[in-house]
């Protein structure tokens, strides 16, 4: 089976074709550098994404505060992560790096605050 994807390692955006057989990667073509090969293999075996969103802020100067995952989370768990983050809240004052959800869905990533809010 052939799968095509676009490399996002740099602005070139090489169109990559990957030949897979029973989950085993046979060949990677179309990439111009090593990073493209690594990207394609990661993307087809364990695709991950950094998750950026907001979380409810209690007594803040604003109603929400921006957060992100401390490291990329598996792509197929993004919506599950969002469900947990949407249930969560944190109380002001908050500062960059504060943890809102620890080890979300056992992915090893924490959901951390990315802006300061000194509160009302």
């Amino acid at each position: 089976m052939k799968k095509s994807l676009i490399c996002v390692s740099c602005p070139l955006g090489c169109p990559i074709e990957v030949e897979i057989d029973n989950g085993e990667i046979l060949s990677v073509t179309g990439n111009t550098c090593k990073r493209g090969d690594a990207y394609a293999r990661d993307e087809l075996t364990n695709p991950v994404r950094s998750l950026t969103t907001t979380v409810k802020l209690v007594n803040g100067s604003l109603p929400v505060v921006p957060v992100k995952s401390s490291k990329p989370v598996p792509k197929d768990k993004m919506f599950e992560c969002m469900k947990i983050i949407n249930q969560a809240s944190i109380e002001a004052p908050v500062k960059i790096g504060d943890v809102v959800v620890k080890d979300i869905l056992s992915t090893g990533a924490d959901i951390i605050v990315t802006n300061n809010d000194i509160g009302k």
């Binding site: 676009i6 907001t54 792509k75």
Partner: protein
Amino acid sequence: MMNINEFIAEVEKTDIDVYTDTMVLDVSKDNVVTAVNNKDGLIKIQAVAVVLAMGCRERPRGALSIAGSRPAGVMTAGTAQKYVNIDGYMPGRKVVILGSGDIGLIMARRMTLEGAEVKVVCELMPYSGGLTRNIVQCLDDFGIPLRLSCTVVSTHGKERLEGVTIAQVDERLKPIPGTEEYIDCDTLLLSVGLIPENELSKGVGIDLDTVTGGPVVDEYRETLHKGIFACGNVLQVHDLVDYVTEESKIAGKGAANYIFGKKQGGTFINTKGVNGVRYIVPQRVNIENEDGVKLYFRVGQVYKGAKVVVECDGNVLSSKKKVKLAPGEMENVLITPEMLRNMNENSEITVRIEE
């Protein structure tokens, strides 16, 4: 690169006066800045140097001539971004996005993650105006279709948007009759370009570049008005914030040198984009510059395997093959002090694309 909070902390360590919630009303021809706020009232500051950093604004619906009523639910992508990320509101549930600029693409992902259904992203041009990374991670990841050469021709609904009609366009960007398609939606987000915010610059009488919409500047980002510098999106619309940071440092250094009386005068020559190069910033270069100058430019269409050729007075200064060039991605070429040394006051540096 530093983030915004680190920059704020750096400024707080200095004795620089910072006026927040303050609006500049006017910059005069002798560099007097008039501003107003609700604490100090009217403020007048005699500046030696001024750095313009007003940024840009989004092109609004009014600039597009979309037929139809004026219901709630039609807004720019940046407005929606503020509602969601700062105010904590969801502007709608069923979304169509017109324009594939980076803000539009990012809002497609943002709205999807927050539970909305993004039905389609329509792009008038035959290519996307956004970064490839954003197309992959904001659209492809969620299966959101990107329709190229496609636009919104009318909006429907009285109080609230109920749907839009989209259509394919021909090579003259005119909608093709018979290709109309109705899409049910309650929200239309516009990501259709950014306009540098140069009302103050016009007030001073600063010359603007008709292509970038920003001031004409030299390599220290000084405008043609002495002592007034410009950087960031007010000068040219950037795709990456890192370039904005780089440009602000150049303008800051230029303003400081101006104040301390260093590096004044010199022989300026023009830069010019031809054959596919839409514009170049800076538009003027001092040939006595000893640090070398980076010329930033954008191309007018997508090129694959084309060469970027820099010429001066018929001599090729550099020629570099690029795997890909796209309008959405800013490029740069370096002019070294050695190259500048061979130029005179009648020289002109041109950058062109050779296929």
